[in-house]
Amino acid sequence: MADTRRRTARAGKTRSRSLAHEDQEVLRGYYRQMTLIRAFELRAAEMYTRAKIGGYCHLNLGEEATVVGLMAALREDDYLFATYREHGYALARGADPGRVMAELFGRASGLSGGRGGSMHMFDQEIRLFGGYGIVGAQMPVATGAALALAYRGGPGPGSPAVMCLLGDATTNIGAFHESLNLAALWQLPIVYVIVNNQLGMGTSVQASSAEPDLYKRCCAYRIEGQRADGNDVLAVRDAARAALERARGEYRPALLETVSYRLRGHSVVDPAKYRSAEENDRARAADPLPAFRARLTAAGVLGEDAATQIEAEADKAAAAAVDFADASPAPEVSTLFDGVYASPVPGLYRGMPGDPVASVPAAGA
């Protein structure tokens, strides 16, 4: 085939290159972020059981290496569209943990003003454009953001790109196909990342996907597809960085798959009874946090004292986030109709339950 646009699917290296080439402070920074996410999510689970958090609450436990690796690859001027399992991404992207927790608590100081909750974290400052509660709903929207970048700019090493996160089960819905087809057809600066934690709620990838090697779906769109070890922060970072550089530099979209394992249920309230004891053992054995700690320690990057200190600081930060959230006021009921429309809407009905829609003028009025 002479078609130079034809791309191939490939499984990434299972292990990233040696730590010798890495900046030690950067490595410790990754461990710091992973530890913070772990501590934050454990706190969130605890707060949920104490009824401080309502609704659905999906945690990144077990995905910390993927989260931190992806966010390390993203530049400040890039755009991020996430799924409903996005607390860790907000944190690793630089959102204030207090404001993330406050959103979970439904407080006015939350990232989305207490309007969105766990599934709808937005922070324009860090170009986090949600937080999407409907599976796959973020995919066309993220693709449109990439279209806007192409509309206004052009490819180049200094151009921003879009990263669109999705779960393994999202690869089976129509929005996945329509988005990838459009992005490839129009050559848009976007990298789709399948965060494969091997379960869509309780349904395994094997039970839901006729091609369980999800990254191979790239072939249908003639874009590059790659799989990386989602438990290896450096492998994730390097794969994502390379895909992003092609996206921004040449407007070549890509499909990256990271494979990790969810340590707990689909959401806080899910006891995950569909998983066998062996699977749970495997998940715990693959836990990226102790693995990275051991790797850094073995390489002499992280001493025991430093590791313990990082972990203590993470616990402290998570506790401080809870304190901040708890001390923050809930949004005033008087603000109920704020932030629904951006333009003035004359005649908009703003009645509360039980209010009349129209009133008869008083006699003589």
Partner: protein
Amino acid sequence: MTTVTYRQALHDTLRAEMLRDEDIFLIGEEIGVFEGSYKITAGLLAEFGPRRVRDTPIAEEGFTGMAIGAAMLGLRPVVEIMTINFSLLAIDQIINNAAKLRAVSGGQVRVPMVIRTPGGGGQQLSATHSQNLEVFYAHVPGLKVVAPSTPADAKGLLASAIRDDDPVLVLENLALYNTRGEVPDGEHVTEIGQAGVLREGSDITLIGYSRAAVIALGVARRLEADGISAEVIDLRSLRPLDRDTICASVRKTSRAVIIEDDWLSYGIGAEVAATVQEGAFDYLDAPVRRVAAAEVPLPYAKPLELAALPDAGALTRVIQETLRATGFGR
């Protein structure tokens, strides 16, 4: 003033707005090379090029969602969904994203986009291609829905929709594309949320939107010869609904009949009737009546299709029944 068709008014407005603002682009199926299924976008690809007139694959969810994402980054996309029936393929994007992203982000993002889409039956397109689904969208906070019935409003409401910072669905109508009317030259915008009084009257209020408003106006003119003075309200905006104009009119006339192309149950007319009974109860001399489509999937065969759709005859009959019930003219 210049007399043009509804179709031409839409086309000219799109073109004028695109000339005015570089951030406006069109996206949809067959709008470029094919020049639009109903030719609203004829000539625009040639004039503006493929960057601003984007032909898409058949992927309503994909390109509607893309317009939302582009709008979040500051562009002003105008989506054409070939007919409102196909909007069902994009309904998750419209209802769960376009209408909600500003709210769930705590007011951080805005979605300044337009969805243009024609609805309506009467073209022998059968059940799947003849629906009036605007009530789905008019039901949802976060969206705005407008429905021009005249070429002048087609211009004014489309221009307003494009300049609005929220998602606006502009309901067009297959049966209106070839209708003609005077359109103000130059700048002309019609405020969203303001009903129009197409004709003043004192005996009865007729309320409709889109094609039904045109029918109501025709009936009102004919009734004049019988000594009946009918006021005609064109809703123009389904969300927000101009309840004040509706109620003020019924307080004056004491009678109201609503005509609508959508199905009766849970329709736009039901909301209007509920509004009237709250805002003009003591003024009413007769129950508020609705003239709507028969509740069947619209059949292909012409006699069946004609029978199922509301028309001037049905409206006239209901007006006379309402007047008789109140002793009008005795």
